[in-house]
Symmetry: C2
Subunit: 607 residues, 2 copies
Amino acid sequence: MGNSTEEDLCSQTTNRDDGDILTILVATDIHLGFEEKDPIRDQDTYDTFEEILKIASAEEVDFILLGGDLFHHSRPSPYCIFKCTELLRRYCLGDKPVEIEFLSDPSRNFHNVYNPTVNYEDPNLNVSIPVFSIHGNHDDPTGQKQISAMDLMSTSGLINYFGRWNNFDKVEVEPILLKKGATKLALYGLSHIKDERLGRLFLDKKVKMMAPEDQDDWFHLLVWHQNRATRGVKNFIPDDSLPDFLDLVIWGHEHDCRIEPERKHNDVYVSQPGSSVATSLAAGEAIPKKVGILKVHHKQFQMIPVDLKTVRPFIFEELVLKNLDDMMNDDNSGLTPNELTLEVVTKKVESMMEEAKQLGRVGKASEKPLIRLNVKCRDERQVFNAIRFGQQYNGRVANPDDMVKCQPIKEPVRRGKGDGKDKITFNDGPVLADRVEDIISKYFAENDTLKGLSIGPLNEGVKRFIDSNNADAVSDVAEFMIKETIEYLATRLPEIEEAENMILACKTVRDEQENLNTIRQVLDKPQKKRSVTNDDVSQRKSSKDDDDGMTIDDDDDDDSNASASPVKGKGLWGDTSNSSKPTRGPGSRGGRGSRGPRRARGKGRAN
Amino acid sequence: MGNSTEEDLCSQTTNRDDGDILTILVATDIHLGFEEKDPIRDQDTYDTFEEILKIASAEEVDFILLGGDLFHHSRPSPYCIFKCTELLRRYCLGDKPVEIEFLSDPSRNFHNVYNPTVNYEDPNLNVSIPVFSIHGNHDDPTGQKQISAMDLMSTSGLINYFGRWNNFDKVEVEPILLKKGATKLALYGLSHIKDERLGRLFLDKKVKMMAPEDQDDWFHLLVWHQNRATRGVKNFIPDDSLPDFLDLVIWGHEHDCRIEPERKHNDVYVSQPGSSVATSLAAGEAIPKKVGILKVHHKQFQMIPVDLKTVRPFIFEELVLKNLDDMMNDDNSGLTPNELTLEVVTKKVESMMEEAKQLGRVGKASEKPLIRLNVKCRDERQVFNAIRFGQQYNGRVANPDDMVKCQPIKEPVRRGKGDGKDKITFNDGPVLADRVEDIISKYFAENDTLKGLSIGPLNEGVKRFIDSNNADAVSDVAEFMIKETIEYLATRLPEIEEAENMILACKTVRDEQENLNTIRQVLDKPQKKRSVTNDDVSQRKSSKDDDDGMTIDDDDDDDSNASASPVKGKGLWGDTSNSSKPTRGPGSRGGRGSRGPRRARGKGRAN
């Protein structure tokens, strides 16, 4: 096993029969339909998906492997389904013969299809490039009969949707077994599972990858879609959870491109391709987007990153303003503090615009970059109206409304007294933003206001509200718990003075069970009431969601640009040390993972 | 030209090469997804669609022709798309060769597809039964980029979607030209257009069917999806609008099965297959549901109706109670009037249940029929709680909640004085229910409250609210007219005392233009605000929509069981006489057309 350098495998390749080399295009988090109502960005995800398919076609790959979140919405718009279908038909059907043998039992790999067969063996379809995909947290099964957008592509025969898992008491992943010439690939897929749940399953040793018997003859490739960066203590899967026998893991869900395989202590390599579209204006999303051409020869592999050219340029920077006095001293033009600030900011933005041009992107998206400048002010006279500032860039950038963020620096900390001047540093370093659940848990822990309701189920409701735009989720959960409590009382019929204690007892029982499955069933039930539309949520957010407040993301992400502080030994499943994530300074690109969608804020937004 | 009897063409067939006979399965208004959230009826539409596809397969038809409303919702649920795709793939792909030649230019027949070709000529798909379909009013293009559910099936290559028309200044239908052996078929398709608009285009002679030059050598078959029964004065297309050269019209949209071709005065035949599912509890929906096997040989054709066996049995009856005194006199058991009434009603319902069994339907739907009994009471002591009555049939019928309707007969009219007794007849005969537009127009005509706004645009807004669940439509239209009026005033700057007159003048100008296109553009614009979900509308309806009030249907239908009084000579386009619709008495089956969806009323309904 091992990651060959490009020279290695390529030079081997030229000297040897290609017939033994499996070539796979690897991509993830394409998020079709993200911002499809935005008049500027509406085609971004489709254009990049087309670029990816063109690369696959040009490279004559044996198949395409997607790591989840092909769709941004679990219930994509008709246009989104239409475009995806059209693109897959255009690029993945045709006369090029498929040279890989399918050796496993397709009925154990593919579920929820009337005809569980790999699409290139369907005699009624002429497939040239098979696509294999798991689902992510965005395109997971939902609603009536739990149909996901991936099921739609699967039922039309355009995607081989695998890795769907319905039994959450244990996970046993049976790989797809593929063979090309002498190379044998065991492809393990695990569609998105809540990290907390999967983490617990790992801890309980209930996650199994069912390797074939002649294990050493196979190249073991896992694709999954989980948090890798820490998002709350329980909510990430550390790299070293991975079974040792795996050769390579394609890690979906994380949007930062870290596609070059990283070798873990147990010799498992992890490649994190990252998203092909920036769904939030965070530092990690500004890392250039790539897909990979993965070549596998026996137990050797090589990942060749390919730059995506159609991705809308995105420049992320942080500008920490000088002390106002210093600024004024440096300037002789007689400008007011505010004018001076605007001059500095404008200069910075213009240089970012220039930088965006240098990225050499092509296509329509290249004309109007995404720009995000976080300006840290030290004095209130430096604060300016960021929205009005952005409006000047209407027509030049894709996101004038949230292009600049003006953030006062709080709590200056004085340190040291060297050389006659006070050195001032600011509390503007990395901050690990809380997850919504953590905030809620903390809130209720500090404010002892919940007598009969439990936090776990409420959090589940909040998650459902966020993930599925189900505005009734929280009240449904609350109603359910109230009903449960009443039933509890009804069977026990306490005296009136005992009632309160009994309500608390009911809560304790519930808390101890920690059984969220019932709650999930409540939430999965067909909704009696209205479910909100995206527009709804967007509106609600813009009213709730101001810059000083809590940010609610679709994807339980934060978009802070704080860099990563690997959390050691804190995982639910024991020792989680050896996280090899690079730490980066504030303001640089490549900070902590920022996946998932962030709906743009602000009221002026066309949507 | 002519409709051969079954004997004719079949006997000819046996003696002659089948190679000249085009065999087409004809069906319409399948309404996939109707009541898919109902725990009892959820699979009805899918089961019947599957039955239809099985018939097509067993009959080895050359193709399937659908007359619109394959989907009940313009934005079908993921499950609905999934099921439809699965069924089409299962039954319409395969090795059976397609024997029809496609002679017209597919790029002029098929729109909005990346690869405008008939699906059986796509080298990447192995089509055994091509499906040709127009869209109806339910599955018309909607939302972003105007994508319809039909587009989804078209882009996946499973349906040849034709007859889409975007230019509403004129309609020029270019037929699909098909040839099998010596038989040449010109297939004209016109997807649903608002009847009022299409009627006006007919009046203005702006509807053209572009027959091929050697017109006499072709069999001319039109499929469209329009009101045929009168629904408000302007809102139906009379049979005799049809160009004389047409041989046969497949008339979609009307749900009553009148599939046997009816010969019109201009020698055009009309076959109205009717829906394959009852979407309202109206008399016309109780006519047995059929599809047709259409055989075409040169200019001869023959329509062989085929009973659908999986359709849920539906018995519709009307029970006019006897005068209470007569009822009491007939009975010696000492029952109260109410008890006696319930006994009569129960007896009737039980006989209907028995009748439902006799229909000999098969499959899951056959177990619980749809029953609708309208009970006409002559005395308030005969009135009973219909909901409670229905609850007794829980588990035995599919629709206990709206199984019985209890309607007092109003306004008895005394006539004649023969033989010593008053003869009493009741005003319970056919009543032509108003359309919503008519009600609104009438309301504002009677209440002179509209100073600046026009009724036409408001009605357009109401229609959009109904058809597209766009809750903002009416206010958007009103806002637009207010803005228009202000602009009108702003360019003229009247004195204050002249302002009111000028507002009226603006309204007059608008009314005279009768140009609803601008309004439609306003309504087509991406919505700034939230759009309501189906559930929303359903909720709003249930509060608005009681039995005594105005009924708002999705489909601008009424569901009255009044029989048709053909309106003569009243159409916008001149003389519309000769409507040959049979008039039927109240209570009989086969009353006036009842198409389109009706959301079930009542609060107790599982949905």
